[in-house]
Symmetry: C3
Subunit: 270 residues, 3 copies
């Protein structure tokens, strides 16, 4: 399939460009996000003080805004840096962690969407449905909504916000207007490690920072995490568990190649 | 022994309920706390902004308050969320990291005890002695006090504060009034990894979030960490060290079963 | 070479003293810094609130100031705790992460140098050249400057600031006035893990906290990280990657001995 070739090529572009990815993200998974960004071949920078974010993002090839542990200080920095990134035309990847769980998260997501205008939104089904103004059961920051209507919701939200929507779950859905692809890589064990969603977002930003087609970049980031999860899970021996899995996940992203993507990627039109 | 059966049963209850554990904790070990919570079968959420903690804790089955890296902003959030959790009647597990080392920590611990009222306090001997108003040598946040009088101190403090006291050390002491149990699992290497105390606290909150008997929940969390430490240590091969140990610790919590608890748990009446 | 014997001896002193190392550092790599400090045999404490840093540092044997994710709150704490540490005469190890990338970082580094007066500065070539007032290309927080003139720059800055300068790169340069040593341990893979620079800084502070000769302490910390990187890299099997490397890096620091330093350390006069 043509898209798989494009995803495969996008990894080469990433490795060649080594894009700098500016993150304002949560303090729970920030180390994992920095490491996964380095591991795929990009370069992370984390800076969130209002006094320096404008300057820092001026070097960056893409921006991650992740509201996992938002606070009044970081919200203002996200809005400021987002506007600057928008001016510069670099891709802004938004991870609306736990939107809907609290009014603060919902209000902040709304401001980021309206005042910044993300290029890609990566979330689980519950989060994306909240953004689309639909009902979803929220339990903390975990996804509980089922995946039916996912494609429809992704298309509607993509058109409404004029951005790429990436919904991760059992089957991942990537939509840009009416263009949709479905990714069937991954493994349920990924949901037992904190930060795999955040790391997928960082991978999306790494790919988008080196590729002009952000639909392909989003698909590439999501597929890379899914494939790496499969490889890491398959490597587990008797007695090994989630600690070993987490280490091998980084090994698998580290050893990812265009060939592995073409061989292992499972993608179809939605 | 009857308590061992109850601890074993409490793991089944945890796996069935998958309780949501709200944490306000330090930024040093927060990722480990989130991962250990997921690993045992509960669900972590970290949120500390005063603008959302009330709402977030309304979904939670238990609350962790950990003052490892406290600051003026997080202290107010801890007090607010603690009061809300108290109103809801969910267990509040307090980890007084480094209390006694600075006036701010001591004053904050006092406020949490007086204004919130924890359900369980998990600390090392130095920290618990400070809370009990006794002398203890403090060197940073490490424990240096010896363990004599531990049972007496735990009983006194438990009665005074009407909560479960869990003292971790060479021998762990769990007290609820005059009811005391002693746990002899664990390995000294656990003290060479940062966050094993914090993770024990998160495990206690995970068990208490799914079990009404918080004395049993506290014992279950402490025993799980101790047993996992033993298993991880025993797995080490020549040339392997603390990095491998830390990974295997998560593997061991991941593969913990009611049977392993009944076989390996070493517990006696105090 | 005499210096190698001194470095080897400094590890014994560290293991005997178990110095407490107070850190104000970034939230990206703070867990790694705490763990590497424990792993080498020292004791970490992380505290950054202005209300307690003065008290906390009064127990400490050394202080780390790392501006990786600085903000207005932590800057004031760094200045306050730095002055206190200076009064006490304990070594202050400054890591000017990303200085030159933003005005805030440059201004903060200037304030720390002028108002506190570090004992050791550990940075990459770009960062040190910025501090020396020379030109350097900065791309986020990564080093891009070449290493020529490194020795000259290190000497000039050391004399100007009356402190030890440690430049890490392909070849590490340690300077104290005209006294210079060059370390040729390490492996390029170290730059693919976030926080190896920060961890080197924590190791320097661990050694300096137990040894009066901070030139030797700086060399010991840098060499330990380099040697550990070599050992971890050599251990990698087919299919293993950066996740495994990162784990083995801690294993290698854990198993470091005076003998391994004497056998593996590659050091020369500059």
């Amino acid at each position: 399939m043509e898209i798989l070739q494009k995803i495969s090529d996008s990894l080469i572009a990433l490795k060649n460009k080594k894009p700098l990815v500016h993150h304002i993200t949560n303090y729970v998974t920030v180390n994992d996000c920095a490491n996964i960004t380095l591991t795929i071949g990009a370069s992370p920078v984390m800076a969130d003080d209002i006094g320096e974010v404008d300057e820092m993002v001026s070097f960056a090839s893409s921006l991650v805004l992740n509201i996992g542990t938002l606070n009044s200080r970081s919200i203002e920095s996200m809005l400021a840096v987002g506007k600057k990134a928008r001016e510069r035309g670099i891709p802004i990847v938004f991870d609306p962690v736990g939107v809907g769980a609290t009014s603060l998260r919902t209000a902040t997501a709304k401001r980021i969407i309206e005042e910044v205008g993300p290029s890609v939104i990566r979330g689980n089904m519950s989060e994306i449905k909240i953004l689309a103004g639909l009902d979803a059961q929220i339990k903390g920051v975990d996804s509980t909504a089922d995946e039916e209507d996912g494609i429809r919701v992704a298309k509607i939200l993509s058109k409404k916000l004029n951005c790429v929507i990436a919904i991760t779950g059992k089957q991942d859905i990537i939509a840009k207007g009416d263009q949709v692809c479905l990714i069937d890589n991954g493994h349920p064990i990924l949901s037992q490690v904190t930060g795999t969603g955040c790391m997928a977002t960082s991978l999306v930003a790494s790919f988008c920072g080196a590729n002009e087609d952000w639909f392909v970049g989003a698909a590439a980031g999501i597929m890379t995490m899914g494939l790496a999860g499969e490889l890491a899970q398959q490597s587990l021996q008797a007695g090994e568990g989630i600690g070993t899995f987490r280490m091998r996940l980084f090994d698998a992203v580290w050893t990812m190649t265009p060939e592995l993507i073409k061989e292992g990627g499972i993608i179809s039109n939605g």
